[in-house]
Structure formats: structure tokens, C-alpha cells
Amino acid sequence: MNISLDGVVKAFGGQRVLDSVNWQACFEHTLALVGPSGGGKSTLMRLLAGLDTPDEGRVLIDGLELPRDENALRAYRCGTGIVFQSFNLFPHLSALENIILPLVHVHGVERVRAREIASSHLERFRLEGQGHKQPALLSGGQRQRVAIARALAHNPKILLLDEPTSALDPEMTSEVLDLIGELRDAGQWIILVTHEMGFARHTADLVAFVDKGGILESAPASEFFASPVKVETRRFLEKILKY
């Protein structure tokens, strides 16, 4: 999979969160974005997800430029699956209905078939018997697994995960990370923002360090953690791996 950023600028209220980013990356399955909070990871993620458009510059995925028009962008989003940190699910719908809704109303799947797909995804993620529950009755880890099931139910090309475990306790974190690891092994393309360095090292093919409005460094996972080049990267890793 190829990603290239071509002079990408994104500013909020005069602050350039992404400042003329030029970057080319090629990786097999999984890209992990790491870096300090406020460094621009999530902003970059939102651009890659087609939720925002850059103020300047272009984002290309596999050679195709992401459109700026909301309708065309929406069509692009239909080919992706996105999971945020928390509150992904619609609280008024059961787990099953959460998965069925986009299948029926976005992808035009027939309701009966959509229900089958939703059930099989819940089963695959070991959530059988939880489908009728509303999100409030599920644990945090179960909620994130349902969210991932929803993001994958229409077989998207890319799965984008924006800090999917940051709101979870350690036990639930490993429950969700296990699942993401399985997806990667099954060949799913994944881009993920994470603070779980151990997980990034094991699972990602490529790790990119995002800070100070740009991508300071990117390298294959083993190389990135073994011998970081930039001072900022080294400092960040020292700090985060201290305890």
C-alpha cells in the first residue's frame, strides 16, 4: 500500500497542525502513527480517513488523490472503516443494529442479508449473544470490538484506527489489540494511531513518528525502535518506555 503526502497543510485557528508535510510511504499491511499528544497524529488520521480535507496540498492513497468535494469524499469513506478512541457506537441502537445501519442505508444491502453479515461479524469477534444489547450494557472492550466489527462489515480496503485502546483498561486493551493483530495477520490493510509501543513494534510494518506539524521519521518497525535517527524520536521513546 502506498501513501503520499504532497505539501499538506492543515491549520486550526491560525495554528498549523500539519505544516507542509511531504512524505512517501510504502508498506505491506500495517502503518502505525506514533508521537506525542498534540503533534498532529489525529489530524493526519482524519485527512487519511477523508473526514477533513487539507487546506493546501494533496493526499494520495495508492496513487489516487483524495477528493475535496464532500460527496466524492463520502464515497471514499464508504470504502474505509474508521474506529475512534471512544463513543463510536450509537447509544440508541443495539450492537447488531449499529452494524446493520450502514450496511442497509449506505451500502444498499438487503436487511435480512445485513443481519446475517452483522451476526457473523459479531461471532467472529467472539461477541455472540451480545448483539441485542445497547452499548451502555457492554464493556469498553466489547464496545470497541463491536465498533471494529461495524467498520469491517462492508469489507473496506483500509481500516483506520485512531487510538482505539486509549480509553480502555489494560485487560480490555489486550482484548482489542489481539483482535487487531488477528486482522493484520488475515491481510487487512490497517493504519493506526497508537500509544501502545509494544504493539506497534509487533504488529506494524512501518512506524511513522509524527510531531511538530510533520512526519519527522519513518522506518520499518524493528529498525524504528532499535535505532531511531532523530533526537526527538529518541527522546519520545525514552520517555514513553521508561516505565
Binding site: F87, L89, P102
Partner: protein, 275 residues
Amino acid sequence: MPNPVDFMAPGFSSISRDFPGFLLDRPSKPASPLAKGLAIIFLVAGYSLFCWLAFSKSIENWESVYEFRITFWNGWINTIGISAAALGLSLLIGIITALARRSPFLPLRYSAAAYVETVRGLPLVVLVLFGFYGVANAVGWQDRLGVGITILSLFSGAYIAEMIRAGIESVSRSQWDSARAIGLGSFQTYRFVIFPQVTRQILPPLAGQFSSIIKDSSLLYIIGIPELTFAANQVNSATYSTFESFVPLGICYLALTLPVSLWTKWIERRMRYET
């Protein structure tokens, strides 16, 4: 057993109890059913005796008022009809206004804001008088009932618009993001994600607003719409029996508003368990 006072700071016992303890203290445990029952019986008997002693001399003309029961009945039916129509219409106005207040098209947004602020800043009587004798007269609209329902709906619609707007704004940012992320369009987002959550949130205040509409419809009597208050007033003029006319009036309103109020409490309790 050590005395609990032994554990208190020296001098604590000298602090006097807050004066109106029966008013300010919270109950430490729920009252027993027996206490509740006795309190209710005692109070009903007490208040009834008071009313009897105070008013029995002035209430003796039930027969002549009873002859006007059809007038009361028609007024009551009109009040129900007006309230129901105004609720439907004001809900529609409220939804459109709430959406307009979030519109990126500035003239629409400002118009909606001006409407809401103006109407909420005026007493209903002023709106009724101005709307009927001013606007409706000027454009030659003579149908009192239609004008009355429209004015009441415009009044209530401004409040409902604010409820809906607050409801929409209380749906978290991530819900909008999630809706966009799964590929829903704007209309679909409102229909499948936002409005279902807003509805659950605003049902209790909306039920309260329905109760307000029922009560506020009484003001339409000043433009001669034969609703309940107008009917009671008519009976009073015809029979010179003030109490006998206005006691049924109050009971008729309570017969409408109390069930709505109980229903509201029921919804609130159900919502609490669900979320």
C-alpha cells in the same frame, strides 16, 4: 457501647441544630406507608373542612350551572382540539426553526434567531392581541380559531425550537464523526443518529410544554374563541355563580394537565433506567 458524642470534636454538642429542621433536613429513610397514608387522610380532611367552612355559604347554585353543562363540554372539547393542533404545529415549527438556527445560510439562521428571541421575550397576551387585532385583521384573516391556533403554535414553537436545538447540541461531536465515518449523508445522519437521540432527551420537557400549551390556550378567550375558559366565563355571566362556574373550570384543566404531568414523570423515570 461508646456514646457517639464521645467521638465528636469538643464543643460540637454546643452547636445548635439548624432552625427549621423540618424544612431543610433531608429524610434519612423513606417514610413508612402507614405514615404516608395517615398524612394524606389528615390533610384531605383538613383542607376539605377549611374549604367547607370558608366557601359553603357562597356555593349553592349548582343547578343553574348544571344546565350549562353542554357549554362546558363544548369548551373542553375545543380546548383539547386547540391544544392538540397547536402541539403538532408548534413541533413542526420547532424542528424547522432549530435546524434553521444551525444553517450555514446566514439570512435563514438570523431570521430563526430573531423569531425565537422576539417571541420568547413577549408575553403571550401581547402576541394574541397583536396577532389577532393587528396582523390577522390587516390581512383580512377572520377565522378566530385558525388565528388562535397559529398564534399559540408560533409562541410554543419558539420554546420547542430551543429545546430541540439544545438536544441536537448535546449529541456529542464523536456521534457526528461516527455517522460521517460510516458514510451517512447529512439527512441520514439526522434521521438515524441525531433525531432518535434528541427525541429521547427532549421527551420530558416536551411533555411539559404540552401541559403549558393546554394552560396557555386559556388566553385565547380574550379574542372570543369558545374554549374552556371562555365557556366558564359565559356561564358565570349568565348565572352569577362565580364559584360554581370556576371550580369545574379548574377541575377540567387539571383533568388534562395532571395525566400529562404523571406521564412526564413516568417517561423521566424510564429514561433514567435506560441510559
